[in-house]
């Protein structure tokens, strides 16, 4: 059994508007048999935080195009993307790309 872990989730660039406009979320993921990875975190967010129109955040089993995912201030591509194994106190940011000027 993996112990429960606490995470700091942040949403920005407009992605926060899918979460009642709240940018910062401190969450605790419950204990489960396997360690938590990003794939499971996305499902957890979809089930527990996303209020409406989940397709504007998740498409298929990953984040929709135009949202950049950052784990501890690094692009998740450098960290293993969906397979990254989450650690207690990790900081995960979902940032919508801006296009205005």
């Amino acid at each position: 059994m993996a112990a429960p872990i606490s995470l700091h989730l942040e949403f920005g660039g407009g992605a926060e508007l899918l979460f009642d406009g709240v940018k910062n979320h401190h969450v605790t993921l419950p204990s489960q048999s396997e360690p938590w990875n990003m794939k499971q975190l996305l499902l957890w967010i979809k089930g527990n935080l996303l209020k409406e129109r989940p397709e504007l955040f998740i498409q298929g089993d990953t984040v929709r195009p135009g949202i950049l995912v950052l784990i501890n201030d690094a692009d998740w591509e450098l960290m293993g993307e969906m397979d990254y194994r989450l650690q207690h106190q990790d900081n995960v940011v979902f940032i919508s790309t801006l296009h205005g000027g």
Partner: protein, 286 residues
């Protein structure tokens, strides 16, 4: 690059004396800057401060591209225009204001839309541009500018702003990623918010445009830019900056990868499912 001048003139020494004194810039930096051509794609909230500080610093040539005309609703952030410019092409208005500040710069206004047909020519052929600044306001143009820069081998200094947030990255430079490496698939059109829809506090693109100018000054003068393979995120509400380490150039990227499928510019409005403007998006979706 423009022709090399072996010496700075007395007038140049007077005008640029305060930046000649800066050790990291100096006479060598000034000489390199005077030989550099920069294409500014978009003379709006980002392009105005960017062009202002590049012109003031003495860049050699400044291409100023915008298809649009000045409107009253632009003036809260597009500080090179003015009330008497309403209805005038932004590219010409920007050039006229900049000329007052520094008449030694070669301004090349382009009152036209950047298109897959003209982009490579604008970037590559006479007058050849050394660095491209993406100050545009819509998704298709951002992919178009990126692909043109990759195909022409030019560094792209890109910024964007919305509401009270800004983002900045230097693309396609020294092993760093291109825009498509980060965003291989365009966002669904219904998820894109423009400044016309979402608003923007004018000083936010002001700050981001100044940063773009700084990154360009560093590249032009031979310093290492700060945001190659990095993303600057600015949140004006929380007065917070954050620097993110990005992925390197991706071998599988469709334009800058090892086996690119994009070998010529394509139809970006079709690719993105939206129009290359920040205005009629909703209209076009009907």
């Amino acid at each position: 690059p423009l022709q090399e001048k072996p010496f700075l003139s007395n007038e140049e020494i007077m005008r640029y004396s305060r930046q000649l004194l800066v050790p990291q810039f100096g006479v060598k930096g000034q000489q390199q800057l005077c030989r550099t051509s920069v294409l500014v794609v978009g003379c709006g909230g980002l392009g105005c401060p960017l062009a202002q500080y590049l012109a003031a610093a003495g860049v050699g040539r400044l291409g100023l591209l915008d298809y649009d005309e000045v409107e009253l609703g632009n003036l809260h952030r597009q500080v090179l225009h003015g009330e008497d410019r309403k209805g005038k092409p932004k590219a010409l208005s920007a050039a006229a204001s900049l000329k007052r500040l520094n008449s030694a710069v070669d301004y090349v206004p382009y009152h036209m839309q950047l298109t897959p047909e003209n982009a490579l020519q604008l970037v590559q052929q006479y007058p050849c541009m050394d660095i491209i600044a993406d100050c545009s306001d819509n998704v298709p143009t951002r992919y178009l500018v990126n692909d043109a820069c990759v195909l022409a081998g030019k560094p792209l200094v890109s910024a964007s702003a919305l509401r009270m947030e800004g983002q900045l990255t230097v693309y396609n430079y020294c092993g760093g990623p291109c825009y498509r490496c980060l965003y291989p698939v365009p966002p669904p059109p219904e998820t894109v918010t423009n400044c016309s829809d979402g608003g923007v506090l004018g000083v936010v693109p002001g700050i981001m445009g100044c940063f773009q100018a700084l990154e360009i000054l560093k590249i032009a003068s031979g310093q290492e830019p700060g945001y190659r393979q990095q993303l600057l995120m600015f949140d004006a509400q929380e007065a917070r900056f954050r620097t993110i380490k990005l992925r390197p150039r991706q071998a599988g990227c469709s334009v800058c990868g090892e086996n690119p499928s994009v070998r010529a510019l394509q139809d970006y409005e079709k690719f993105c499912g939206s129009a290359a403007t920040d205005k009629c998006r909703r209209l076009c979706l009907l």
